[in-house]
């Protein structure tokens, strides 16, 4: 992982994954994974389906439990301690493929909920921040609607705003555009690009190679539970080092 000298190595480490393995039953989903994400760094994780990329980012906020190895997030070890897990989750925002907005709450309530109950932000302040964030993702007028009344693209932008409302230090994106109709993908990616430009630390699982090219500091290519290749977008797209990466790129860019 230290071979990418093309960009200056970020000073502080935000996420450190060290020799992590994960099994589902007898199936080994992740095999001795190591990855370091610096502060402000943007990592795009790609690879064929079933390669373990979603599993890997879900380990970071303990939605999945790893069986061996170590994970540190902002200096806190991801382990069984519930308090530590909740502390990490406060700092790590996550956006899901299927949005997972809370359908019984309005858009604004979706955004206010966690800051109010977890961060103990006063309600008026949490609402003010929520409205700012909705403006930032360009749907301020939807604040009082219910998620079910919004389009997929709008829902995903609300989901991004909901994660940002917690003022996280890291944002995880698990295939954020895969469930969207093509015409809605851009509106979500635009928001993500802006976020990247503002310096957020991001780990993004996606097949959007255009996004990877413009935003990523490093691309992590995974296959069969392993990190096969890591490199800057320039290196990765121009000259993939492994056959597996070449095959993947030809499949995904070929059409």
């Amino acid at each position: 992982m230290t071979e990418n000298a093309a960009r200056p190595a970020p000073q502080e480490t935000m996420i450190e994954i060290l020799g992590v393995s994960k099994w589902f039953g007898d199936f080994q989903a992740l095999k001795n994974i190591s990855l370091r994400v610096g502060k402000g760094e943007k990592i795009v994780v790609c690879g064929p389906s079933g390669s373990g990329k979603s599993t890997m980012i879900r380990l970071i906020n303990r939605l999945e439990r790893h069986e061996s190895g170590r994970i540190m997030v902002d200096g806190i070890e991801v382990a069984d301690d519930v308090k530590a897990i909740e502390a990490i989750r406060r700092e790590v925002g996550m956006v899901f493929q299927s949005f997972n907005l809370f359908p019984h709450l309005t858009v604004l309530e979706n955004l206010v909920l966690a800051p109010f109950w977890v961060r103990k932000t006063p309600k008026w302040e949490a609402e003010a921040i929520a409205r700012q964030l909705l403006a930032r993702v360009r749907i301020p007028e939807q604040a009082d609607k219910y998620p079910g009344q919004l389009s997929g693209g709008q829902q995903q932008r609300v989901a991004i705003a909901r994660a940002l409302a917690m003022r996280p230090k890291v944002m995880l994106f698990d295939e954020p555009t895969s469930a969207l109709d093509p015409e809605m993908i851009k509106e979500v990616l635009d928001v993500m690009v802006e976020l990247a430009e503002e310096g957020m630390t991001m780990v993004v699982v996606t097949h959007e190679m255009g996004f990877a090219r413009t935003v990523a500091d490093n691309i992590v290519f995974m296959d069969q539970g392993e990190i096969v290749e890591t490199g800057t977008p320039k290196e990765f797209f121009a000259a993939p080092k492994t056959d597996r990466a070449k095959l993947f790129l030809s499949q995904i860019l070929g059409h």
């Binding site: 906020n61 303990r62 939605l63 519930v82 909740e86 502390a87 989750r89 406060r90 790590v92 925002g93 996550m94 899901f96 493929q97 299927s98 949005f99 997972n100 907005l101 809370f102 359908p103 019984h104 909920l113 966690a114 109950w117 977890v118 609607k145 219910y146 998620p147 079910g148 009344q149 919004l150 389009s151 997929g152 829902q155 989901a159 909901r162 994660a163 917690m166 469930a179």
Partner: protein
């Protein structure tokens, strides 16, 4: 471009309506005729018996006996209504259970309105129930003490049902959560409890509560009959409700749990703020079904000699003067139960409509 066609008429004339709805084909026409015949055969005689020829008031049962069954003897209800409503409660103190009943109605009405749904409502209930307790027991403020062996009638039914639901519902939520717990000890306790209680008829639970419970208590310690029956009812209802709630919990997509976890919400907050509101909302129809069942099941306390509405009626019927007016008595009892159960049903439907804000299809379709 295709031509825009006018929408076909939506409301046909009455004859057309008859043809399409009642006489669309031969079997349908036959069914219609048979149904009309049965209605004509049974409805007018019943209306005559129950309303037109009915005897509403009489100083004794004599006019009813003279009518020889041709007219309903509502005089029985009129004569005995105090006993039916208040059971064996001292006659001159009947205003106390009466006021308690009205207090219950007031509490139901306030709780039914969503704008009063706030923690303060619990306080209102505490005050309301304390007042009811003072009214029923007395012994303070110059009220005569009335031991609860003498409580009876409608107010007893309301006490059993209200406390039954108020305690069984929260207990059932804990049981349902426990049954889904990842801790094996908690899970097995909940499974055993639910399966054990659910697998036993309520009657036998009530018998056990009245006969066996005293055997297990240390000597000298007694729990009164009303409380024992109440505990049995709560335990029974909680087991049923727990499975209803669990059904609702299972319907919540995994993504909801994950999103709540990812935001850093603790287990208690995830459950209280995200999961339960959704799970209970979709469980409203079966929950109310069970509430209605519980309300009617309170009538089973007669078998351990508690004087609820139904036993009061039965006892009134045993009076020599009024023997034989069972039809009127049980119709009346049915009407009372029906009013409460129908009110619950209507309220739940209103609540469902009220809570179905905005189409939630989009938010859930992904799973």
């Amino acid at each position: 471009m295709s031509a825009v066609l006018p929408r076909p008429p939506v409301l046909p004339g009455p004859l057309e309506w008859l043809r399409t709805n009642l006489f669309s084909n031969l079997p349908n026409a036959i069914l219609t005729v048979v149904a009309l015949y049965l209605l004509w055969k049974f409805v007018p005689p019943f209306v005559n018996w129950a309303f037109i020829d009915a005897i509403w008031q009489a100083p004794s049962s004599k006019p009813c006996r003279d009518a020889a069954g041709a007219s309903a003897c509502w005089a029985f209800i009129t004569e005995k209504h105090r006993f039916i409503l208040f059971g064996t409660y001292p006659y001159e103190e009947h205003w106390r259970p009466g006021a308690s009943t009205l207090l219950f109605f007031a509490l139901y009405a306030v709780s039914a309105m969503r704008r009063f749904w706030a923690p303060r409502l619990a306080l209102v209930w505490l005050v309301g129930l304390a007042l009811i307790g003072i009214l029923m027991w007395g012994g303070v403020f110059g009220l005569r003490y009335v031991e609860n062996e003498r409580w009876g009638g409608l107010v007893l039914t309301l006490i059993l049902a209200t406390f039954g639901i108020a305690f069984a519902f929260p207990l059932s939520i804990l049981l349902a959560l426990g049954r889904r717990s990842e801790m094996p000890a908690v899970r097995s306790v909940c499974v055993v409890y639910i399966e054990l209680i659910r697998g036993v008829p309520l009657i036998s639970l009530l018998f056990m509560a009245s006969v066996m419970m005293p055997l297990f208590l240390p000597s000298g310690m007694t729990v009164d009959k009303l409380l024992r029956a109440q505990i049995a009812l709560i335990m029974f209802a909680a087991a049923y409700l727990a499975e209803v709630v669990r059904g609702g919990l299972q319907a919540i997509p995994r993504g909801q749990y994950e999103a709540a976890e990812a935001l850093g919400l603790s287990f208690a907050k995830r459950t209280a703020l995200i999961i339960l509101p959704q799970a209970l909302k979709i469980s409203i129809p079966p929950l109310v079904n069970t509430f209605i069942g519980l309300f009617k099941d309170t009538s089973l306390v007669v078998i351990i000699g508690l004087f609820d509405l139904l036993l009061a009626l039965k006892t009134a019927l045993n009076e020599p003067a009024w023997i034989g007016f069972g039809a009127e008595a049980y119709l009346f009892a049915s009407l009372v139960y029906f009013i409460f159960c129908y009110a619950m049903s209507q309220y739940s439907q209103m609540l469902e409509r009220d809570l179905a804000r905005g189409p939630t299809v989009g938010a859930l379709k992904d799973t």
